[in-house]
Symmetry: D2
Subunit: 288 residues, 4 copies
């Protein structure tokens, strides 16, 4: 009897080759150990024959999580399921990397402080000092790590040490404007989130608003994605656009784009923190 | 062995008081009779403690639908589940009622003819003759039933007879512009779909574009809903809006609104035909 | 020669009964006094036979604003034009009234501090203390004026005194949650801006998110409007919506709505501050 | 006295290097010859120092168009203005080129027949026979010109001859799926309109929906643009997007994309037919 779980919630994500009976096996095991399905999503990628599932399990009245884990480990072996179970109360630790632009960082701090983002923010790291006061007003430690133009190895070693010291589950590049070295992209695979200021795959790389202005597009956008070693080519979590027209200068695009960046990043991060994003190959399943 | 089902697909919808073990019971029964879950959605309304589920069941390799129905009837009794199982190939029969405006009707006919809407259209009924040629060009019978301004009983008796003679599963009011009598709203409950030319609950009743113009709103919309005896108050299936501004005359609103009406109606009808819409009280769950 | 105006910009707004030759008269007078048309919008309301125009005048190389004012005063008399000319550098003074909710207030403060909103904020007035620290961190004075449930006259007299002492051009109700007394609505006509948390005219009055949830709408919205003595009936400046679905609880609507409220209010206020909004009757012309 | 013009409307578009006094000169000349400004838009591209203007001139009570043309020819010479004046009644002649897909063609024919598109359609040309019946039902001549895979010169000579014989003002590629030869792109510059089934510059070239599916984007779009000799690189008139997710197969993208293509093409064509689109370099000014 795990009556201690009555107030708890757990999220189970599973992913494996599509096979008959998966939903029955997973939901049967949850029900068999006293759990309630509060939310349940699944998706089968018919082309890749891959199955994805996300369950939010309510602990009331008596979910036996240890018994479930024992049982589900055997099921997962049988079906070759990649899975994770986490208690929802255990907020993920999110370290944010920023540069001089404040719009994404201030938005994340605001949402975190108002309880909208289910995470803790152990620190912010920046290669500039200008946002220190804003960060510290929120009660979050601020670490200044200058990144030189040429040899950046030492700077990224410091950044890596800070991330690890703060035990980050997730790292967010909130307009960090630096290309992460490949070994960190790999070390933090599927935990390193970037906001790119264009509707990818349009305008990959630097200065997307200038490129959008030059091309005369009628909508501009932003893309939240996991970082991989291929610049701006990682799995896309969320995108959105806003209408612009001929009267918009490049600076207008920058201003209008800031709002899209903020909302796309906060939505994408929220999906990630709630374990709604399952990655397969270079694509995501987002159960929202 | 129902090897004859290998190429078939079925859709099962269920709705009942929320109870532990529902997903396990339903998916277990499907798997136990050789069915594959191709698509599966569920939702729990925590406030009303009500559970909704929609499963698309693949018949391969050997789904025993008769055995499943036997078994599931017992499960449904135990949990007091309201359910339906339909084979996807059995296209619903959709009778369309129209008046003089062609935009919604022509859009539905186009989508049906191009194979986008999974239904058959046994006939179109109208209280005007002007759309006959368009309807008949699509190979669909056209019935003219004039509706007088005063005593409409006879007209609606004719319409009811046509609907029943054509064995309609679903009736669509494609800008029919007549208020359906209460006994038909009740007879065709959850099968009678209307498109209202405003973003309900704004601008209930007649002349919504004039009202929107007078109020100076910056967006106009359309609403697809099931018809009930309360005018424009039935369960909403789908809505959308389009941006307008001060330069739009009332006629511009009408023109821009036509596009929203067409797309909202066709989306709403598609959801209905694919059994994606589950009604509970005056609200819908739409698994799309 | 007003060479001192070479770096200046002015905005001229005009509104009058539609008559032939208005654009020629206005633009001729601007050109005749050495001004350049940087931006120019006009609109004729054919139904009401009313003409609206907004010109941004560049002072280079030698705009003689005094001479223009002399000349234009005569033109305005001849055509019965309602007009105003303001120098763009003279930032409007915006006093913000807030209650306990921080999302709109923090967004306005952020945009103001980052230079996005062309205004000064002489103070924030609130009937609660909880946002003081945030406001003061931005370097803006915070005035606490409790508003009792019953006799509110004294509280509103204090608020009026603060508004007037701070010489406010514009007053923003950033989720103030109090109904402004009629004499203040009239005193600050077309200068008092509210954000309503619904897509008006849907869900007028209190608890719009609860009403939206009960009705089962598929989109929720927000409306920025000038306050009049008719609650939620004033001229609409800007509106927007966001998609929701059956899985959204009322709290989800509140959360999603906050983002729409913030963006609609900041856009509407920006239009107002840039003199892009011309009011006629209960409707607005927004030259954006 | 041109009292014969009282019921007429004219559209004047002008484009030139930005200079002081342009609006005054143009509007003064219109007013001086008895014209009324029904609609007026202008835009200055500050970066390129280029001025754009569009005026809709009402002929009431006595617009002397011949006198205006005489006068304006001199003004245009003085300021080096590129201009055109057309009577709004003179509907543009639009020849549509299509292939096997019907969605864009049927949408244009529907809008034309219902009076929404201000044009005449002298003929449709296609390299397939399957849409003949639909076109002819609308009362529009249908020309079948097969385009072989290898030597296409003869086919395009026939197409060119048909376009010229039908005296086309505008040519629309309604999913024609053939690359126009460079000499026709140049001959019909700014009169040849294409709908591309992606949000350009994403997914240039063939199979954009497959590419979008492979990349896992969360929005798909369509682009209406003038055709130039650079494939999919011409000036963009209009774009729009629609949200998609992981559950969308490539066929779902195609289906959802059809609706965006239709609406983007019809909007772009409408802007073009109403002389709302002014091209400068590779960008457009769209006065809508």
């Amino acid at each position: 009897m795990q009556s201690g779980n009555a107030d708890k919630m757990f999220t189970l994500t599973t992913s494996c080759i599509d096979q008959p009976g998966l939903v029955a096996a997973v939901s049967g095991s949850i029900a068999g150990h006293g759990g309630t399905l509060v939310e349940s999503h699944n998706h089968t990628d018919a082309q890749q024959r891959w199955f994805f599932m996300r369950n939010v399990i309510g602990g009331a009245p008596h979910f036996d999580d240890k018994g479930f884990i024992n049982d589900f480990t055997k099921i997962a072996e049988k079906y070759a399921i990649d899975w994770s179970l986490s208690e929802n109360k255990q907020a993920e630790r999110v370290v944010i990397l920023a540069s001089q632009s404040s719009h994404c960082l201030s938005d994340l701090l605001y949402r975190w402080k108002s309880g909208e983002l289910p995470c803790s923010i152990p620190c912010v790291i920046s290669n500039h000092e200008n946002l220190r006061s804003m960060v510290e007003w929120h009660g979050v430690p601020f670490h200044y790590v200058p990144v030189p133009k040429t040899d950046k190895r030492e700077a990224f070693a410091s950044i890596e040490a800070l991330i690890d010291r703060h035990d980050a589950d997730t790292i967010v590049l909130a307009r960090f404007m630096q290309i992460m070295p490949p070994h960190l992209c790999e070390k933090y695979a599927h935990r390193l989130i970037n906001i790119h200021h264009s509707f990818l795959p349009s305008f990959i790389g630097a200065n997307p608003y200038q490129k959008a202005h030059d091309r005369g597009v009628k909508l501009i956008g932003a893309t939240c994605h996991y970082v991989t070693t291929d610049l701006d080519e990682g799995p896309i979590i969320e995108q959105d656009v806003v209408r612009v027209d001929h009267s918009c200068s490049k600076d207008d695009l920058v201003r209008l784009g800031r709002d899209v960046e903020r909302s796309v990043l906060s939505r994408g991060l929220r999906y990630h923190l709630e374990h709604r994003v399952l990655v397969h190959g270079n694509k995501t399943v987002v159960f929202n």
